[in-house]
Amino acid sequence: MSAPLRVAIVGSGPAGFYAANDLLKRDPASRVELFDRLPTPGGLVRSGVSPDHAARREVIATYERLAMASHRFRFHGNIEIGRQLTHEDLLRCHHAVIYACGSAGDRRLGIPGEDLPGSHAATSFVSWYNGHPDFAAQSFDLSCERAIVIGNGNVALDVARMLLLGHDRLHPTDVADHALRAFAESRIREVVVLGRRGAAQCAFTTPELLELGHHDLDVRVEHAASAGAKPAGRDARAYAVQLKLRLLDEYAARAALPDARRLVLRFLNSPLAIVGRDRVETLRVVRNRLVSGGRGDLVAESTGEISEITAGLVLRAVGYRGLPVVGLPFDAARGIVPNVGGRIVGENRRPMRGAYVAGWLKRGPSGVIGTNKGCSQETVACLLQDFAGDRLPIPDIDDQGTQRLLTERCPDRVDYLGWKKIDRHERLGGMDQQRLRVKLVDLQRMTAVASGRF
């Protein structure tokens, strides 16, 4: 009988945790070691999910407990694969490696003025207010009255809401301290969310749109109506579009709230240029109309009607983009690691032995948290097939040797107990201030707390 399956997973966001739990469940002898670059698990559930959506953060805690209960799972935080340990190192200690490191980059607009001060990627802004250590030192000037968010997905609505909720609503959340201070001093009264297509094409989800009505915001809808928008189907996607159009109609019909902060959902507008002498002053936009894209879809086409919107802050929320991983092939056009069902393939489309991918790095940055479950399960199924068929490399370092290697190469690694110490420290810090938690945002402080020195 062969030795039990040992798998390393790189990245502890939803895709990594879903893969870990599926492996532990489907192969009752398997052992899983989950690595993360940060001392804290969760990936975008910790640094992407909005602070005012705390319940969604619980998804990681749930799967963390499930994995720990197997007694065949270890978490290794504060280890960067490709730096302290290589792919080859991991394969000497495991039969296989699953890369689930997501899409850490952001897409750009490719318009003039994009690098002016005051123009940022929404992903950076989100990471900053969520206390991601790499973004804690950034600063965002919130001294203007109007901000513009370019994009029509859930990230666009998240950042718009965060800019408008105000200190009292944000204080009880786990928003990072530095961001809470900045939001308290913010002078932003209006956020314009810009979509290049119509309301029926917007990518944000119905719950996000519905929620806007519960925050005493003056929600305005502009140019939502578009001929032929009503979808005919009866599946969940068609239902969601119908519901969104109905909700937008309701917002449009509501009486204005002149004293409230204002959120404008403006459809059928594309950005042309960010204009300003030393920093963002205005955004030049063009009005679009919808035309058939030829494959049953509707695309935006410029009408040539140009206007300008005054704003001091422009956040582009037009998507994440995958970044290459050291030692793995990369499809730069799609921002993913080339794969077939999760098996990483090289240029000849032949699988790389023992190398797998799951989540956004496998299929691109789309879907909600749970979309990663099926995605990771597909990868795990391929891996288990390959293990059963003796197609995986045999590790030559045993478990004891693996732990020795980790101690040697990664003296500052944070294990599960270390993470729980950080977790407790953050929650206790929050209790004193009637906040959900006060996040640690400095790596040295995090490792000190994790090791019991603080």
Partner: protein
Amino acid sequence: MSYVITGTCVNDGACVDVCPVDCIHPTPAEPGFLGADMLYIDPDVCVSCNACAEACPVGAVMDEKSLPPELLRYRDINAEFSRLRKDS
């Protein structure tokens, strides 16, 4: 009397796995799953057994009696999608 999925839903599908009467849709095996904003409970089929609420990793499922006012609309939303699905 029924349970209701609210907007916190992350399409994890753990509820689908434990539902004894298969009243939650779209399931991960159904074609509409990938385009779904959330999952929905069919109030005509739900037996209020609480299994989905226990299984949900984010606490998105509630007994309709305990819905706070701002989430009441999800009762209609769950019912409306379920009707639409059965009519198709």
